[in-house]
Amino acid sequence: MDKSYSEWDFDVVVIGAGGAGLRAAIEASSNGAKVGMISKSMLGKAHTVMAEGGAAAALANKDHRDSWKIHFRDTMKGGKYLSDWRMAKVHAQQAPDRIRELEQWGAVFDRTPEGKTSQRNFGGHTYPRLAHIGDATGLELIRTLQQRGIHTGMEVFMEYTVRHLFKKDGRVVGCFAYNRSDGSLHLFRAKSIVLATGGITRCWEVCSGSWEYTGEGHALAYWTGAEMGDMEFVQFHPTGMIWPPSVKGILVTEGVRGEGGMLTNSEGKRFMFDYVPEMYREEFADTEVESSEWVKEVVAGKLATKRRPPELLTRDVVAKAINSEKAAGRASEHGGAYLDISWRKSEEIKKKLPGMYHQFMELAAVDITKEPMEVGPTAHYVMGGVRVDPITQETSVPGLFAAGEAATGLHGANRLGGNSLSDLITFGKIAGEHAAKSASQVGSFEEIDEEEIDTVITEMLEPLGREEGENPAKVVEDLRVMMQNKVGIIRTRELLEEALDDLDDLEVRGKNTMSPGGRVYNPGWHQALEIAAMIDVSRMCALSALMREESRGGHTRDDFPSPDNSKWGNLNSRIKQVDGKMEIDYTSYPSIPDDLRNLLDSEDLVEEE
């Protein structure tokens, strides 16, 4: 088979063209770097388009009481104090400028009556904080960055998948990719590389992710020796569609609850009042009357004086509550909960949540202005990722940077809704800037070892050449079902140990798949090549989940149902490949300086110590 390849040289190669990748590429270009951006999909189709609710930034347009300090506090608290406080601070301080910059570049967020950027309420955020455009904020963000980006001189490689990162003397020096559309092979020499490859949730059967979310960025970093962190923390978004079966997992924005949506069980009871954790008890309404008064104030555009409804608790809490109601036999008709926004005026729903209205109308034949939706948890986001320097976003491998969902640090044990889009633009910019600086300090491009290239190519072409083997789709399906059942929302030692054994078997099967049909746009071949990454990211998740014997944020152990602050309160898991084997240990971020510590809730912190 033809092993020839094209060669490219770029100061900075950005892998991934979602919000973080585009923002990094724009910044690297404006710092004078020659940038190549490699995108698994077509430009503008990346997973960022699926983000709905908004981007969190303390603009204080809707409520003057908001500030970066409160955003910092909310993020730390929502992350159950496992976030890197340095990143949480930078994020809270810089997100407002990044949002304003998007408007300068043409984004059109919804407005306040005074003509400023409007902001909406979301779980875990003390004040209305999410800049949004209806329920299609991700589309606005990616389109704005895309349209800005194409004029900055970057070269875009659409429908290319990166297979391997090359290192020389410890520093990353390039990568190898193939073109999904025509099957051609490409070597990229680079002075620095930014990983902005998004997440891993395609490893679960019920997920809100697109096919792209197979964790190749996480795996590339791991395989090249970078330190990974917090991989046990996976966010199950409480509200995914659950009926009909073919739409299972598709996201229902938290904006529904931000706009006054109520969760009820089969008995018609608003069950979230029963699930308010101690640390949030003072901040949430304890009666339906108070809840509805808060909603009335907010809908009328007034400053809230009442406490917010418990539906707006953090995602980990709401997902587990829906799960518990189901376990207690109070699930909705198809095994979830009811989410009802129909009490609001039909035209308001259509204006504020147009995507949800159409999604339910067209896919489930449910009119959400008249009847409740049925929802249940869906694998949505991985808090864990590549460990990065909080100032530069550089990973433990020199020259390799990471930003967005591929990186860890900002979200700790649980991400707040709306903090993802602001994460992308805040840390995408920082990664791009520092990748360009780092590249400028490198003299010339390194030659890359021919033998190493040949090994990569041989492995890539193997599934095409096999005369017999399994359909890769079957292996992937089995992997996803296994992860759903054994490394899902509720975990136990037995299930996690089984999962690790199952992954060994799946790995063997994954290496023996067959993809007939040639190199031109062959989805079977593409899928065969994704399996190895899916196996290793699943393994990182199962291993770190097995080791953490407590429950916290996006990690719940049935056999250790409570947080154990004395042991785990400030320990972050760290995974690294050593001599081909996955090794795990624990580390802590530096202690929080007093001025920032004073912003946090003292009772929570006493508990931590």
Binding site: H47, P245, S246, S515, Y521
Partner: protein, 309 residues
């Protein structure tokens, strides 16, 4: 268990780029609530792993899975099999699935839409404010937010006869990019005058408002009424209105305004279109007035602030 049979185009371009291939039938199980894309995925998983098909979000947000289902351009992820069955009535025959016909074929259901990225690059970026101190109200935002909800599925371009039958890919920007140009032209913060290039470089006059683009838009954008006709109106105002611009209008009148106008507004096939077009033009005139008013109010406010500072 219900079964369904799909007849799917399988093929590739020949040396000259023309598609060669055949329609192949696949029969798979049909579950409740499935969409067309689910059936394609089942065919890939069970029978044809190499069946080429582009998709991402499976929720109507990314615009990747455009195809022609029973001859009608649509997103496969948002087309329910229940609706297909209803459309087909008693007809038992297979469901016909083909790639978009106006774009060059890559393989099977995948086409090469790189043309779109070339056009996008030709559009001048927004010329927005340097200092972040702007305000504009929801009323102004509404208008362009509609345009910005475009998911770039290219179904409108695929359907437009200027592209599909006349292949004017070099001279005509296509409905998608007039929507994009309209979002810039009507953007409250953009100061660029885009009318000359809309007329000359992007070939707006090829459009004779047959409304096919609007009919297939899965995002429900009123492409014809809210983007194309208002842009045409702005071209007319800029170039041919003797009250607004007497010198330009005189020059253009002698260089064939009549053919321009007739091409645009008179030779439309459907007489109903003319009436709608006239209404839309009137609406656009009052919107231009409204925008001018808002703009002068804003300027006045800024001046006011300057005075008090």
């Amino acid at each position: 268990m219900d079964k369904v049979t799909f007849s799917v185009f399988r093929g590739h371009p020949d040396e000259s780029g023309s598609p060669i291939g055949e329609m192949i039938e696949y029969t798979v199980d049909l579950d409740e609530g499935m969409v067309v894309l689910d059936v394609i995925h089942r065919i890939q998983a069970e029978e044809a792993p190499d069946l080429a098909c582009r998709w991402n979000c499976k929720a109507g947000k990314c615009g990747s899975c455009s195809a022609e289902v029973n001859g009608k351009p649509r997103l496969m992820c948002m087309t329910r099999m229940d609706d297909i069955k209803e459309e087909m009535g008693d007809y038992e025959g297979p469901v016909d699935i083909r790639p978009m016909q106006s774009f060059p074929l890559v393989r099977d259901l995948v086409t090469d839409t790189s043309w779109a990225y070339e056009v996008d690059r030709k559009i001048k970026p927004i010329n927005g404010p340097e200092e972040p101190d702007w305000v504009f109200n929801q009323h102004e935002a509404d208008r362009i937010q509609e345009f910005r909800s475009c998911i770039e599925c290219m179904l409108c371009v695929n359907t437009c006869h200027v592209m599909r039958e006349h292949q004017k890919f070099d001279e005509f920007a296509g409905p998608r990019f007039f929507v994009r140009l309209a979002s810039l032209e009507m953007h409250p913060l953009d100061t660029e005058n885009r009318i000359p290039e809309i007329k000359d470089d992007f070939g707006l006059s090829y459009c004779n408002i047959t409304r096919c683009c609007t009919e297939v838009c899965p995002a429900g954008i009123q492409i014809t009424d809210n983007a194309l006709i208002p842009l045409k109106e702005r071209v007319v105002t800029e170039y041919f209105d003797p009250l607004v611009n007497p010198i330009k209008a005189l020059g253009n009148l002698t260089s064939g305004v009549f053919s321009y106008l007739s091409e645009d507004f008179v030779q439309t096939a459907d007489p109903g279109n003319n009436k709608q077009a006239t209404n839309a033009q009137d609406a656009e005139r009052s919107r231009i007035e409204e925008a001018k008013k808002l703009e002068s109010e804003r300027t006045e406010k800024a001046r006011e602030r300057f005075r008090t500072e």
